[in-house]
Symmetry: C2
Subunit: 206 residues, 2 copies
């Protein structure tokens, strides 16, 4: 007789994996429990057996997405690297992460916008952003005349925006500039190095 706990875990994972796909693709309102069940090749009733409700299932998925999205930035930001290396690593690693998880940024941003209260307490208590070191490094560079004067948070937001935005705006790039799937892949690949150079060049004083 096979241990039931193993099967249980497998079923749960299969459901969560399916839910992840559908929620990421359609958002909370757009997702259907039936579609998740189909994706998991499982009966719809089983969703409610393992996870009581759509809300609970969503919460599990959202948490994982948020926990994946933020730490990429945080770990690098808090490291001992110098500014140039941090920016280079940040852009490369972040874009690579989104290539593997293309729906995560749009999903997190949208759900956070739609229902800020639902997950705010969770994000706040689990994701502690401590950018002090990075911000200090920037400020020192400004004070020493190496960097142009810029609020560290402005720089930070610009870096993250540069990585995330192209993925959120992918349909726009397709419609307005005719970038197909392959073009987009090339565009993103090119972006890693060009953005690193552009942002570092923007930071350093002439």
């Amino acid at each position: 007789m096979i241990n039931n706990s193993v099967l249980e875990t497998e079923a749960e994972n299969k459901i969560k994996e399916a839910a992840r796909k559908i929620f990421h693709r359609r958002g909370f309102d757009g997702a259907r429990m039936q579609e998740i069940a189909d994706e998991a090749q499982i009966n719809k009733a089983m969703l409610h057996y393992y996870f009581r409700s759509k809300d609970k299932l969503f919460e599990a998925v959202f948490k994982e997405a948020a926990m994946k999205l933020f730490p990429v930035v945080i770990l690098i930001i808090e490291s001992d690297l110098d500014v140039d290396e941090k920016i280079k690593k940040l852009i490369h690693n972040y874009i690579d992460f989104i290539i593997d998880n293309p729906y995560v940024p749009g999903f997190v941003l949208h759900e956070l916008t739609q229902n800020p209260e639902r997950m705010k307490h969770f994000v706040a208590s689990n994701v502690l952003m401590r950018p002090q070191k990075f911000f200090s490094q920037i400020q020192e560079g400004i004070d020493s005349g190496k960097y142009i004067p810029i609020a560290p948070l402005q720089l930070m937001v610009t870096i993250v925006a540069s990585c995330i935005f192209p993925f959120v705006a992918k349909p726009m790039l397709h419609t307005l500039f005719g970038l197909d799937q392959d073009d987009f892949g090339e565009f993103i690949e090119q972006r890693k190095e060009q953005m690193t150079q552009f942002i570092l060049n923007g930071l350093y004083k002439k």
Copy 2:
């Protein structure tokens, strides 16, 4: 006797204005016809009287949003200004526009992502982006050694991202950095000038 056509127009406008608010705030799936009716202080049945269906009403709202969002960029891009002036104008005007229409970018991006086909043909036929002149200007600057080598589209996307992203990520800035409403307003105001300087500095070679 009052002319009926006037009242008709007033009712239609009241509905569209209410629909705009709700759709922008909740997206297509999240919006409720009842909520739109309440917002318009009108009976729910009247929505269907004036606009046949939720889809039709949404389409009207989406068109207006998209038609407002893109031309801001396009007009400046296609103008005869030089690169520095274009970038400065682009950032200032675009951010000012979003201050007045804070939900538009997230709305357009999300709906375009959720259902790319629904509006693609419309956007494609109504919004013609002709960035050739701007792109040529950039390329000339690169060839003459004035600018660093960067694909014009990469620059373009970065500029738009810098303007739009902070608004989409507003809840994140609130949660992670504790920016309240006033802080956010200051942040955006500061951003107009600092991003202009940062991006121009990034473009010019040392």
